[in-house]
Amino acid sequence: MFAYIVRRLGLMILTLIGISIVIFLLLRIVPGNIVDILFDAAGYVDPADKASIEKQLGIDQPLVWQYLHWIGGLLHGDLGYSYVSEKPALEEILPRIPITARLAAFALLFSASIGIPLGVLSAVKQGTKLDYALRVVSLSGLSLPSFWLGLLILMAGVAMFGSIPIFNPNPKTFGEMFSTYCLPSLAVAFRSSALTMRITRSSMLEILRQDYIRTARAKGASESSVNFHHALKNAILPVITVVGIEAAFLIGGLIVTETVFNVPGVARFLVEAIRWRDYPIVQNLVMLIAVVVVVVNFAVDMLYAVFDPRIRYTD
């Protein structure tokens, strides 16, 4: 087990290094950097000015030096400066993290509390009209773009309250809290609850076919006891892994949803930074996302072993 954890940790670090190289190179394969863009906008280029700004930003240095400089800074908690605001990148990114984290937590909560019960229901009633309807609903959930759902929620807000719910950084009443965090996270959660439901359903179906379920029925256990006591307890395990998949899934949803609802979180900031070619922000944010995804997946793997005594990672 210990050897496995060490190996997984090693692989994780290797993956993160790989990602950092990929991101770094991707952002630099295009001809034209922030200085070109700024000068294009100004419509006048003085080569001496340009060179001095490039020097100031450090983008006249060789790529390898730039890369090592970035990684070295990263390890010391120095993320460089935003090209656009000229403030330290850390100062720009840090205050936005709790906002996005809160949205993601709400979304995960919604998606589990909607997806798991419906998935169980669908599996238990397999082949009935209810199962059919639930499957169609979950498939449509996967088909609705979350930004459109967000726009529809805004539209409903206009129809009901006559105004568009705006982001409130310090929600005081329950109503403010609701419109600030719950509405955007519902738009994200609808999609991921559909995913949770599909995975719960197929995992539950798998378990319901097992011999010990038949044994439980044979000894006269009630239907609800079989479904919840015997089946769900075991079926819930694979659903935990979904959290890992969903970490990646949620981030995609958050990017568009934060844009729709004008939430000043990390995800929307990434889009803005990409538009501005603000490399320090983009590369640090993408790195942050990669770290979150990789760590969550690692944690899920470990949790899996904790919850399921049959799994012991030995090699």
């Binding site: 990929v22 952002l27 169609v136 088909s143 609705l144 990017i255 990409i274 996302i289």
Partner: protein, 297 residues
């Protein structure tokens, strides 16, 4: 005493589905949802191909006198802020979605198959290297990777196709690799080896055709997500540039500010995206049931 009506039982099992059309009818009756999905997909292909015939207006003609007109007999789905016909833009938008969907799935599928096949069949260090690359690419969410890609390549149709295809490569490669690993141990591969067939030929002639079923299932499943990703990219203003009518782009132009004043600009493009993705998802599910019965739910 139970009497069994053999004829009807056989018919139900598809025993008389011996001609092409009978088989189609049999499958359609058995997979109602899949058939609905196929019909939706056919509808979108049809509108993409015959877009110019279906629409009275050009999707690009600006008519500022009729800007933001509500749906009417002239403009079925209303007009946008430039007075362009929304119906024409949605029908033509099917072309973009279809081009991106098919283009990036094919591109990502091709490289995914090549890498998966090489990785699974050659194993050793090739496998190790490809596996690490796959790990790296899969640690980033599809949309994030596509965003960074389009940011790097610049917004244009071919670049969007490439940007969405690259995140698909590891997904396809992983499935093909797992399949190849299992197939490599099969007796028919051993037989081919024993008669002196070259490794390359075995990989392409014997292993590859046997991975087609999971590949088709995967490709259909991914088709919907490529359409969604294109819509998201364009919605964020980093996908297909103006003036091309992309569904996602139509929503970004009209988003929050038109929620109040021109709801048709928000509702209709969204319906188009959702319906197209829903159709491919329904069809993909049915296809998986038919081609890959082990995964049937």
């Amino acid at each position: 005493m139970v009497t069994i009506d053999y004829d009807s039982e056989l018919r139900r099992a598809g025993a008389n589905a011996n001609t092409f059309w009978r088989r189609v009818r049999f499958l359609a009756r058995r997979h109602v949802l899949g058939t609905v999905g196929f019909a939706i997909m056919a509808l979108f292909v049809f509108s993409a191909v015959f877009a110019d015939v279906i629409c009275r207006y050009s999707p690009l003609t600006v008519d500022s006198a009729h800007a933001l007109a509500a749906p009417s007999a002239q403009h079925w789905l209303g007009t946008d802020s430039f007075g362009r016909d929304v119906w024409a833009r949605i029908v033509h938008g099917a072309r973009i979605s279809l081009a991106v969907g098919i283009g990036s799935t094919t591109l990502g599928g091709f490289f995914g198959v090549m890498i998966g096949l090489a990785s699974g069949y050659l194993s050793g260090w090739v496998d190790l290297v490809f596996q690490r690359i796959t790990d790296i690419l899969q640690a980033l969410p599809l949309l994030v990777l596509a965003l960074v890609m389009t940011a790097a390549l610049g917004p244009s149709l071919p670049n969007v196709i490439i940007a969405i295809a690259i995140p698909l490569v590891p997904i396809v490669a992983r499935v093909i690799r797992a399949n190849t690993l299992a197939l490599r141990e099969q007796p028919f591969v051993e037989a081919a080896k024993s008669i002196g067939m070259s490794e390359m030929r075995i990989a392409l002639r014997h292993v590859l055709p046997n991975t087609l079923a999971p590949l088709i299932v995967l490709a259909t499943a991914q088709l919907g997500s490529t359409i969604l990703t294109e819509a998201s990219l364009s919605f964020l203003g980093l996908g297909i540039p103006e003036p091309y009518p992309s569904w996602g782009r139509m929503l970004s132009e009209s988003s929050a500010e038109y929620v109040r004043t021109a709801p048709w600009l928000v509702i209709f493009p969204g319906i188009a995206i959702s319906l197209a993705v829903f159709g491919t998802n329904l069809f993909g599910d049915a296809l998986r049931d038919i081609l890959d019965p082990r995964q049937r739910g």
